[in-house]
Subunit: 293 residues, 2 copies
DNA sequence: TTTTCATATAAGCTCTCCTTATCACTGTTG
DNA sequence: CAACAGTGATAAGGAGAGCTTATATGAAAA
């Protein structure tokens, strides 16, 4: 390609208006500019493009052929610009979020709902996987945002906390619970805990390990919601996230056991690639999240 | 569209090379120019297009979407330019020629053959119609060149003679022909002439009319070749174009009758729209014709 | 004729876009 | 480990492409 692309836009408009003067008015430049530009283009392409007459200009045979191509080129560019504008206004686009079941259901759901209501044309996809895999998904570009239990660390990622949560021990309503438990005491209760590969379980284990206590749960399960249900039917004492068990606590299906000192609070956080700018949808979603932080 | 199209070519190349520096080298401009251009483009579109890193750049999500569009735009332009180049080299294109049967067969045929041999990729189409209609076809844009019997006149057309022809009276080989005929004498022979709507017939009639002679042919037919055949079997005296009857005259199927003074010569000519530039194929075809003029 | 509406051309200026030079950073290499 | 080679960003300044205005030219309409 030898010729300036900008000439083609002028060529395009001129052909459409079949007149140098009209095109000039429309493009807010002088007729002279058009005339010079077309002459230049004709010279560059070594081809006469327009037939000049008194009532304007008409494309030559060669001009018509060129016009077809230029037209589709210009339209492609216009499509591109329109697309970006729409993305910008969040009228289209997509967003892939990686998050575990529990976080999705207990924390993200209302945000997802609101986001969809606000930007109905953004396609949201959830990438559900194992807690530790989430960050990988982001690093591989398979998800743009991940919501995970903190702490988590990664050089390539920006990880920010967005929601503080508290792990508490709960039991069924009829459970004969003392007023206050020490860590040793609670460790001796019949425990129902999450499986070892979960980050919540790791967190609890680590904290107890600092006190040189090893937890030996009677039951290990995978889902947070089962912890609550098992506790409520007196299968034992569960360690659950207080914020995720609000409803059941209020209804009295389970009751919180006082632990002294309580487990330190931890956070849910979001992660994204440090060096990649966030897409508009991702930005918008995080804005929603941040309003509540 | 607000943005300079030229930026998009730089964007395109930069995206392809995934590097400002490499693209710069390839485009024979400075790396700085690319950097500025992309910054400008990003500002104009209000969208980050590239993720800068130490080992080059990568398109953002939005950049990728834009790239798809830009790519097809640039390819369209390239197609257009290639197309023109091919037309220019006469590697493609088409040409519609209007000409009557006789002129096509007796005059154009060798040129058509040679043209096709020289430019095998140009599609030639013949528009065959009534002698007077030819010029209309050109004016309507349905044919680009017309070959007609002169004289012919039209403000919109450029009409040039390209082949001189001579009308002669011929008779069968056994016909008892005197040495020399006056116009009155020939008019009294049993004439076989073309039909009245043909320009050849008009030409003969007009010339005789100048001498106040009206021709009353015994037979009127439409095709030039039949004139020869009818004369050769002694149905009468035909008026034919000498140049188109060369073979039969040489073979002695017919013989020329001396007319004194002879009918003035006339020409075949070509016609094209005065204000339209000729397409490359038409130009090339005429060049072939003109070599022999 | 004269007027009017096209495009073409001339001359000059403006401002875009490119250049050079330099910085800042990182990963590589002697 | 320091110097280098490669990345992109930034500053400043200059060249010239591409615009402007003004005028010429030509054909059709009045």
């Amino acid at each position: 390609m030898k010729t300036k692309l900008d000439y083609y836009r002028i060529f395009y408009e001129t052909a459409r208006f079949a007149s140098f003067s009209t095109a000039a008015r429309h493009l807010y430049i002088s007729q002279s500019a058009i005339s010079q530009c077309i002459s230049q283009l004709e010279e560059d392409l070594d081809t006469q493009l327009f037939i000049r007459s008194r009532r304007g200009v008409a494309l030559t045979k060669e001009g018509k052929l060129l016009f077809q191509k230029v037209e589709s080129a210009i339209q492609a560019i216009e499509q591109g610009e329109t697309l970006l504008a729409r993305l910008h206004k969040l009228e289209s686009g997509s967003l892939i979020i990686a998050a575990g079941d529990t976080i999705t259901r207990e924390y993200l759901l209302p945000y997802l709902e609101q986001f969809h209501k606000t930007y109905p044309n953004i396609r949201i996809e959830m990438a559900n996987s194992y807690s530790h895999h989430m960050l990988e998904l982001v690093k591989e570009g398979k998800a743009e945002l991940a919501f995970v239990n903190l702490p988590a660390e990664d050089d390539e990622l920006c990880i920010e906390p967005c929601h503080k949560i508290h792990d508490v021990f709960v039991c069924g309503p009829d459970y004969n619970a003392k007023k206050k438990y020490t860590w040793e005491e609670i460790a001796n209760e019949p425990l129902i805990l999450l499986e070892k590969n979960s980050s919540s379980r790791n967190y609890i284990d680590k904290n107890f390990a600092k006190e040189r206590i090893t937890l030996n749960p009677q039951i290990e399960i995978a889902a947070h919601e089962l912890l609550i249900q098992f506790a409520s039917i007196h299968l034992g004492v569960s360690c659950v996230v207080k914020e995720f068990s609000k409803k059941e606590l209020e209804k009295g299906l389970i009751k919180e056991m006082k632990l002294s000192p309580p487990l330190p609070s931890r956070s849910i956080g979001y992660a994204y690639l440090r060096h990649n700018p966030l897409s508009f949808p991702a930005q918008a979603f995080l804005d929603l999240i941040k309003r509540d932080v």
